[in-house]
């Protein structure tokens, strides 16, 4: 019983640092992103853009995005986690088919994928 009051006070004080913490995190991520943009301006014209380091960096960037995308589609968190795996896979397959068959139209592919997932969820 004696612990209840301090615990509640703590919960109240934790709330604000939570928001400040999140703001700091987002801004730090923004700075980390800008680092590459700014460094690119600094280096532009001084180094060749096709060196091995850039090749490696590009590979890592592609692998990260590729890994993240498949991970979200296969093992999502949040509200997408409530949808069955087969529905997401059907949505992806139909979206890819529409995209490639209809002249690589990104908007059309996305719209078809959206409808395919909603349709699959309705039917399932």
């Amino acid at each position: 019983m004696a612990d209840a009051a301090p615990a509640r006070r703590q919960a109240v004080t934790v709330d604000q640092p939570g928001a400040a913490h999140l703001a700091l995190l987002v801004i730090a991520c923004g700075l980390a992103t800008y680092l590459w943009r700014g460094l690119g301006v600094l280096l532009s014209g001084r180094v060749a853009a096709n060196g091995e380091f850039f090749n490696w960096a590009a590979c890592v960037a592609y692998a990260m995005i590729g890994g993240l995308t498949t991970r979200i589609l296969l093992m999502p968190t949040g509200s997408l986690a409530e949808t069955p795996l087969w529905a997401r896979l059907v949505g992806c397959a139909i979206a890819l088919a529409a995209y490639f068959l209809l002249g690589r139209n990104l908007l059309l592919g996305i719209a078809v994928g959206f409808l395919a997932l909603v349709g699959a969820l309705l039917l399932g």
Partner: protein, 231 residues
């Protein structure tokens, strides 16, 4: 003004679709709206924002999140290195002050870079920085609006449509990555990451984006290096 007109249309609509998904995803996972908007304004790179969102939800260390987001943005370095010399005007007397290039760099993203690479050869060098700024600033505003709209829509829509909207985020990358990756290196790196990323996630969820990217990317780089050396 010309650039603004060219930006509104397909490039902005595609970006908007991605950021609608991001906004909806942020809402669906309980991420606050102001933080989602701040991330669009300050990071302005969807893969990094998705990584940040996912990692902060799984309770990853702040340092690890910042490093991962930083690493997913590494692609901006070669983009900036190739784009910036085109925006410095030819004559020494009329060179743009460099702070303008540093400011423009914040707006650099894949869409704007690709558009500039297509458009710049026909554009006189002194006009290019203004063209880029108009194009990219329009994109930036559209992305903020789409984040807000996605977040708001996710709240008021039925769960089914909301899930569909959240699905748009990863779907956008699936299509753009499979369809628009032209280099052999990019394709191999994507495939390696697509296999290794989820596999690492099963073992170490908090580090999967970073470790998966480093492992998959390095593997792809090593696989293609001898071929590159031979040429």
């Amino acid at each position: 003004m010309q650039a603004v007109r060219e930006s509104v249309g397909v490039p902005s609509a595609v970006l908007a679709a991605g950021y609608l998904g991001f906004g909806a995803l942020a809402n669906g996972t309980g991420f606050p709206l102001w933080a989602a908007l701040l991330s669009t304004a300050s990071i302005f790179a969807l893969p990094g924002q998705l990584a940040m969102l996912e990692m902060s939800l799984s309770g990853t260390l702040v340092t690890a999140i910042v490093i991962t987001v930083g690493l997913t943005a590494a692609r901006f370095l070669p983009m900036a290195v190739t784009l910036m010399p085109m925006m410095r005007s030819g004559q020494a007397g009329s060179r743009q002050p460099s702070w303008r290039l540093y400011a423009a760099a914040q707006l650099l993203a894949m869409t704007g870079w690709a558009a500039c690479m297509r458009r710049f050869p026909d554009l006189a060098p002194p006009l290019r920085l203004a063209w880029f700024s108009g194009f990219a600033l329009t994109n930036w505003i559209v992305c903020l609006a789409a984040t807000l709209a996605g977040y708001g829509l996710a709240e008021s829509l039925p769960p089914l449509v909301r899930q569909g909207l959240v699905f748009v985020g990863p779907l956008y990358f699936l299509l753009i990555l499979t369809g628009e990756t032209r280099t052999r290196q990019g394709i191999v790196a994507l495939a390696c990451g697509a296999v290794i990323g989820p596999a690492v996630h099963l073992a170490a969820p908090q580090w999967s984006v970073m470790i998966g990217g480093l492992l998959g990317g390095t593997l792809a780089w090593l696989m293609l290096r001898p071929r590159g050396a031979k040429r």
